[in-house]
Amino acid sequence: MSIFRNMRSRQMRGLLLKEFREVWRDRRALGITLGFTLLFPLLMIGSGALSYKVMSETSFAVAVVGGEHAPLLEEQLRGGDLRIEPLQGGVPQELLQGKYDVVLQIGKNFAEDYRDLLSPTVYLYVDSADKSGGRGAQRVQEQLARLQQTIMQQRLAVRGIAAQTLSPWQLEVRDVSTPSSRGVAILGLMVPVLLIMGLMVCSTAPSIDTSAGERERMSVEILLQQPLSGWQVVVAKVLAVTSIAWFGALLSLAVLTISFSLLPLAEIGVRFSAGLSELIAMSIILLPLALLVAVLQILLSLRSRSFKDAQVQLSILQALPVTLLVGLKLSNIELDAPIWQLVPLVGQQQWLSALMAGEPISTRLALAGSVVTLSLVGLCILVGARALRRESLLGAT
């Protein structure tokens, strides 16, 4: 138990104080932390809210060419989010180039063929490469389908046929999803990725500064002359870097939570159900990962040849977890087996998604997975301590 005694020695306290002070006084690191954690979620949420607003408020300009041949059709399309403009003539392709989202073309003989039950054709022109064109066409089709339903039903009735004779059976779809599980499907990747990215981004600058930076400032030599073991130096640095990275991630979480409560998630049948206890659990789950990220980044920058080199290497590392998570998601690899929760990063992603949607997680697996992550942290600290003992490290410029 000498580890804990050492941790509480006066030298160690002094070292921790120094490391924490250096990290938290670094304006650049703080700036990145605040910038990323506040702006990035806000930007994402803001664009989501904006696109929802556009989706729900847009109306579509529909040109009806030859509407005079089927006034009922034109009349029934009116209202809602369709702006109907009857035109005497015009080339549909040209009209689509102009202000119209959708062009409906009705032939001259429409009314006569309709009366003779000849099923006349209506042409719907749309530019499906144009976003509002596609949605506008869909709305027109829905409205037409509704009218068609009314007419079909009347045509059956006048022949004395019950409409149900055309439905050999009723299909009842029963969806077993819940608003929370749909939330996992939609936000389950985004939120953990955002939080993990927060950890990566916020710890990069202090990691480099505390290792490669200190080496370049030559202050690391003074540090190693102190009566402290190598692991103590690494631990102090890891804790200091973790503190700011974790703070950044927590800030992200807070911003995300507040933003979600402002978004009309219920409109898309989704619930963000994380309560205070879930948020606390999420924060705790992030801590081992924050430690792992910090220690890996410090190791990598210690290994690098120079400050610049460290920056290059770490910026590559930054993109790694996100790429991994997205890659796993896209490759459709089944990650449901509990063993996956023991894999750092994958485990954290799964717990964070579940907690965010207010779903329970297995405490045992979460603890076991966190222990795996923490063991890795321990291993890395030992590796770092050994590296510090190598004189060659200090010579690298």
């Binding site: 138990m1 041949h69 006034p71 034109e74 009735a157 006048v158 004395g160 004779t165 029963r174």
Partner: protein
């Protein structure tokens, strides 16, 4: 060792924090997942035993939880009849989806309906439409379950609702009532004013109204159909179909009744089509504007000897009365409604109407074999809850006049009248949105202009359906909506 202990302590703390969310997500009540036909999402359901002895029932309760975490008061849906089950209203959840975001929606099958011991006396869609036969079946049913039949009442239904409210830990609730459900809602308001926040009453049957006298209301609805038909180019061509209807009903005879085509099989009906069934079929068609627009053509054709379109209208209501639990209907109707009607009132109501006594007669003969004790309501007292009333101008059973003239005891009310609307309009056009706005700020006056966009569907003009060539109505496009 201190360090190790510290570590252990930390682990325990972590464990505690991680398990907290799971403890909180456990529900305090006994609700379980379940489904209802017509709505694909899972509901939370429970059963509550009520009543004693051979009148015991386990009430079926269905909750569609609110989507948002920050919630407003739950909305309870009360079905009509009496005899319709609230669980049959599950399809309403589609149109009430937005309301359901902030309000949990609760459906309780009242005693004797749906999944709460449906009191249907074995009368279903296969039962022949023969009053004598039905009367005999009912008489037998009453004798077998007299205690149950005598126990059912509006008062009891309101008490059960209050019990459900407490069981579900709901503070104040709002009620949506449709048709007879409005009566239950109004009585709940009288007896439990403190449990209630707001009322939405669609097709209102005020406490004093005599809703089983509906022949005049049906006649008035038909008159509005005549009016609308005359202003429509294609429909007005059918001439005086109203007189044809009278003639048809007058001349209805056994040979027509026997040959009448069955809309399901295309062959003659298994049981002859009695005159009173036809009268009721036309009355029922007036409930729904989609069906009503087919009446003029069907009558004109029947006048020419083609009964298929008339049969097609029957085919629009495949379940007939089987949606109702007739035992419960009679227990309530005989004790609370028919008991307060005088011979003069009945005669005045049916005089000069196409329905005549065809509708009332069902209940009159039913009540003869259903001797439940009379029950009277107390005089309604003044109530200040915000109330939203919705009426269809051409409703054949609860006309807008009920909402306008018989609800003096509601001092805080707004009334939406859907022109040419039938019975129950909550699902049409912008009305679901208006209901949501009302529930969110019940004291605010609603902007009603959007209901003028709710039109009658196009009239059947011929064998091809509606006329395609002319806007038959003056449409209201340029209102900036």
């Amino acid at each position: 060792m201190i360090g190790f202990r510290g570590l252990l302590y930390g682990a325990v703390m972590l464990w505690g924090l991680l398990t907290t969310p799971m403890l909180i997500s456990e529900e305090v009540t006994d609700l379980q997942d379940c489904y209802l036909d017509g709505w694909g999402q899972p509901l939370r359901c429970t059963r509550i035993p009520v009543g004693e002895g051979d009148a015991e029932v386990t009430l079926a309760v269905f909750v569609s939880p609110a989507m948002n975490k920050v919630q407003r008061e739950p909305l309870y849906l009360l079905a009509g009849g009496p005899g319709q089950a609230a669980s049959d209203l599950a399809p309403f959840l589609h149109k009430f989806r937005k309301i359901n975001q902030n309000h949990a929606i609760v459906m309780v099958d009242r005693r004797g309906t749906g999944l709460s011991r449906s009191f249907d006396c074995g009368i279903d869609r296969d039962t022949p439409m023969d009053l004598e036969f039905i009367s005999k079946a009912l008489e037998k049913c009453y004798l077998q379950q007299a205690n149950f039949a005598n126990s059912l009442s509006s008062r009891q239904s309101v008490e059960d609702l209050e019990r459900v409210r407490k069981h579900l830990n709901h503070q104040r609730i709002s009620l949506w009532g449709g048709s007879w459900g409005t009566r239950t809602a109004l009585l709940y308001q009288q007896w439990y004013p403190n449990s209630l926040k707001a009322l939405v009453l669609d097709a209102v049957a005020p406490i004093d109204s005599k809703v089983f006298l509906s022949a005049t209301a049906a006649e008035d609805a038909l008159k509005i159909l005549v009016r609308d038909c005359l202003s429509d180019v294609s429909c007005s061509k059918f001439g005086n179909w109203r007189t044809v209807l009278d003639q048809l009903l007058n001349d209805w005879n056994k040979s027509i009744a026997v040959d009448f085509p069955d809309p399901n099989t295309g062959k003659p009906m298994a049981h002859p089509m009695s005159r009173w069934v036809l009268q009721n079929a036309i009355r029922t068609a007036l409930y729904s504007p989609e069906a009503a627009v087919q009446i003029p053509f069907a009558i004109q054709q029947a006048g020419l000897g083609n009964y298929y379109p008339l049969s097609g209208i029957l085919g629009l209501f495949p379940d007939g009365t089987s949606g109702m639990s007739l035992g419960l209907t009679l227990s309530i109707a005989c004790a609370e409604e028919l008991s307060r009607l005088s011979e003069e009132e009945i005669a005045a109501d049916i005089r000069g109407t196409f329905v005549g006594d065809a509708f009332f007669g069902i209940f009159e003969s039913g009540c003869e074999v259903w001797p439940v004790p009379d029950r009277a309501y107390e005089q309604p007292e003044l109530r200040k809850h915000p109330v939203l009333l919705i009426s269809g101008e051409a409703d054949p059973i609860t006309p807008p006049a009920y909402a306008e003239k018989q609800l003096g005891y509601l001092v805080n009310k707004q009334h939406l009248v859907v022109s040419s609307g039938g019975h129950i309009n909550s699902m049409r056009g912008c009305i679901p949105r208006l209901i949501k706005e009302f529930l969110e700020s019940p004291e605010k006056k609603l902007e009603q202009t959007c209901i003028t966009d709710i039109n009658r569907p196009p009239f059947t003009a011929g064998i091809y359906g509606p006329a395609i060539e002319g806007p038959k109505r003056k449409h209201l496009e340029e209102k900036g909506l």
